[in-house]
């Protein structure tokens, strides 16, 4: 696309589940500091592709490299150690811990020596006033609930917490799996507001079902359909693509195109 360094490169990656080919020979390159999005209808293979990139699944065919290094067979921990951080589609936090302890766990692994001995010899309390954690709680508006157990939070607060945990790690690549699903408009805006601050100095890949919210925020948009990439480019380019137009009535594109789409 341009002269920027490659962060993630997927080369003809295939993943099958029984007879179903969920991801079919997908090649994809994510550049440094790019803010990219993958959209597609349910079952388009976007979350599976995402899971392949992060090491949740191993591909049946193809290779994945990260900053020039082959990571196809690496465990998730090894990928995290190299700077990949992901969130989950179904919000994934530690429900039996307080907000600040959730953040503490994320922070400790990324910024302190975290061998077994360090885990045993550091108290949770020692993390709670770490300036970086306090600052992140301010940014994500989590100060008021800092000592509350996560199971008592609202979905929006949980989602903010999960993204806060990911950003606290200072990853090279931030991979967000449907970060806006199921949220109210105001919550969506507050999350996008925080993400905007990271545009330009962090590589971000967002998988979304709904395009309308992230469209103006993405520099690049990829559309997946039935396990393949059918369009790739700026948001306008991708949406103008004939194949996308043919299948886009399945995708909630923008309010404007949704009107056209009703068959």
């Amino acid at each position: 696309m341009d002269g920027r360094a490659e962060t993630i490169r997927a080369d003809k990656v295939t993943k099958r589940f029984g007879g179903l080919t969920a991801v079919d020979q997908v090649s994809y390159v994510l550049h440094e500091n790019e803010v990219a999005g993958i959209i597609g209808s349910n079952g388009a293979g976007k979350t599976t592709f995402f899971n392949l990139l992060t090491g949740y699944y191993l591909p049946d065919e193809g290779t994945i490299s990260y900053c020039g290094e082959d990571v196809t067979r690496m465990t998730p921990q090894q990928r995290v150690a190299r700077g990949m951080m992901r969130t989950f589609q179904l919000t994934s936090t530690f429900d039996n811990l307080s907000v600040v302890d959730n953040l503490g766990l994320a922070y400790f692994r990324a910024h302190k020596k975290s061998g077994l001995m360090q885990l045993l010899f550091n108290t949770r309390k020692s993390q709670r006033n770490e300036p970086k954690i306090v600052q992140t709680m301010d940014t994500f508006d989590l100060q008021d609930v800092r000592d509350r157990e996560v199971k008592n939070l609202s979905l929006g607060e949980k989602r903010r917490l999960e993204i806060a945990m990911a950003i606290l790690v200072d990853p090279k690549v931030l991979l967000l799996d449907e970060p806006l699903a199921g949220l109210a408009e105001s919550e969506i805006q507050s999350i996008l507001g925080v993400l905007r601050k990271h545009v330009g100095h962090q590589t971000i890949l967002i998988v979304e079902h709904k395009l309308s919210h992230v469209q103006d925020f993405l520099q690049r948009l990829t559309v997946m359909h039935e396990g393949r990439i059918i369009a790739d480019g700026t948001a306008e380019e991708a949406l103008r693509h004939p194949e996308v137009r043919r299948s886009y009535w399945q995708i909630d594109v923008t309010a404007e195109s949704a009107g056209v789409a009703t068959p």
């Binding site: 150690a81 975290s114 885990l119 108290t123 790690v169």
Partner: protein, 327 residues
């Protein structure tokens, strides 16, 4: 002040055990303290890491037989016997742990039971020439009196067991407050997230397994010294669920649940067995009742109420001073 807050619960709990010692017979007090230590490992596995084990007697037997062999064949110092029990327990947990903690929770429960059965038959049949089979090893009179705290003397043994118990609780309380404790709680409900934050799930669970079962072996070694004999009965499959029962009775995942559970269980055993022939039946009914009544166990139900009561009392004392004190 902070240090005081950290300690007061522990000090209070063990002060109550001392009080119990004054009012109740010594064997009961000793049994409660050892049983509490036995149960805290199970409680940690179940409450903190989410592992249910039906084979805790296996590790109890490892500690007890390690000490028992030492007393029968090699030496007579009770302290050395206890240390040997702990070390052997640690080694056994470290050997079987890597295989066991890979298993999902339900299989984990059964594989431990299988280990308990293996050890039971090893001690009862296969190794009978050195274990005396069902009769067990008897060495009560061999044990050497020790200076300062004479462990061959039940009342001094109680003091020692109490000190060991206190240290054990302080250790587990510390674990709860450590980052490792947070990792365990995280691993209990969301292994994926922990992995994707970059933690090594396997190592966290293995460590928990080794810590818990070394503690259990410690309880076994204490039994070996206190009872003066070891027999295969200690790892009998019929006793396999005892620690799980006591854990649930006391309150899963609570720090003081094992103590409360051990008092309740040992007490019921003593009282009911005098009145009823089939007292274990009552324990079964009681357990069903507790599960249905809220699965929090005795301490899990009491703790929030006591806290409320305590804090309300503290508040009213500051408000209406002497009245509360005279009442």
């Amino acid at each position: 002040m902070n240090a005081l807050r950290w300690w007061w619960g522990l000090v209070l709990a063990f002060a109550l055990l001392v009080v119990m010692r004054v009012f109740l017979p010594l064997p009961f007090a000793n049994e409660v303290v050892i049983f509490s230590i036995y149960t805290i490992g199970c409680n940690f596995l179940l409450g903190r890491v989410g592992f249910i084990s039906f084979g805790q007697p296996a590790y109890l037997a490892v500690g007890a037989y390690a000490a028992g062999f030492y007393f029968t064949y090699f030496g007579a110092n009770p302290y050395i016997g206890i240390v040997i029990g702990i070390v052997v327990g640690f080694i056994v947990a470290l050997i079987v742990g890597p295989f066991f903690v890979r298993l999902r929770s339900d299989y984990f429960a059964l594989v431990n039971l299988a280990l308990a059965v293996i050890i039971y038959f090893l001690m009862q049949k296969v190794l009978a020439p050195i274990t005396n089979g069902d009769n067990g090893l008897w060495y009560l009179t061999n044990l050497e009196p020790t200076p300062v705290l004479d462990l061959t003397h039940p009342s001094q043994f109680f003091i020692f067991a109490l000190l060991v118990g206190f240290a054990t609780w302080a250790f587990y309380k510390y674990l709860d407050d450590s980052i490792y404790g947070a990792c365990c709680l995280g691993a209990k409900i969301n292994e994926d997230k922990l992995t994707f934050l970059g933690y090594d799930n396997f190592r966290i669970r293995l460590t928990a397994f080794v810590i818990a079962n070394t503690t259990t072996a410690l309880a076994g070694a204490l039994y070996a010294v206190y009872l003066g004999f070891v027999s295969p009965e200690i790892t009998s499959p019929t006793r396999a669920v005892d620690p799980v029962v006591v854990t649930i009775l006391g309150g899963v995942g609570t720090l003081y649940g094992p103590i409360v559970g051990a008092i309740a269980y040992t007490g019921m055993k003593d009282v009911l067995s005098q009145i009823l022939v089939n007292w274990e039946l009552m324990i079964g009914f009681l357990l069903v009742f507790i599960m249905l009544a809220g699965e929090k166990g005795i301490w899990g139900t009491l703790e929030p109420r006591l806290k409320k009561l305590f804090f309300r009392k503290a508040a009213s004392e500051t408000a209406g001073g002497s009245k509360a004190r005279t009442a």
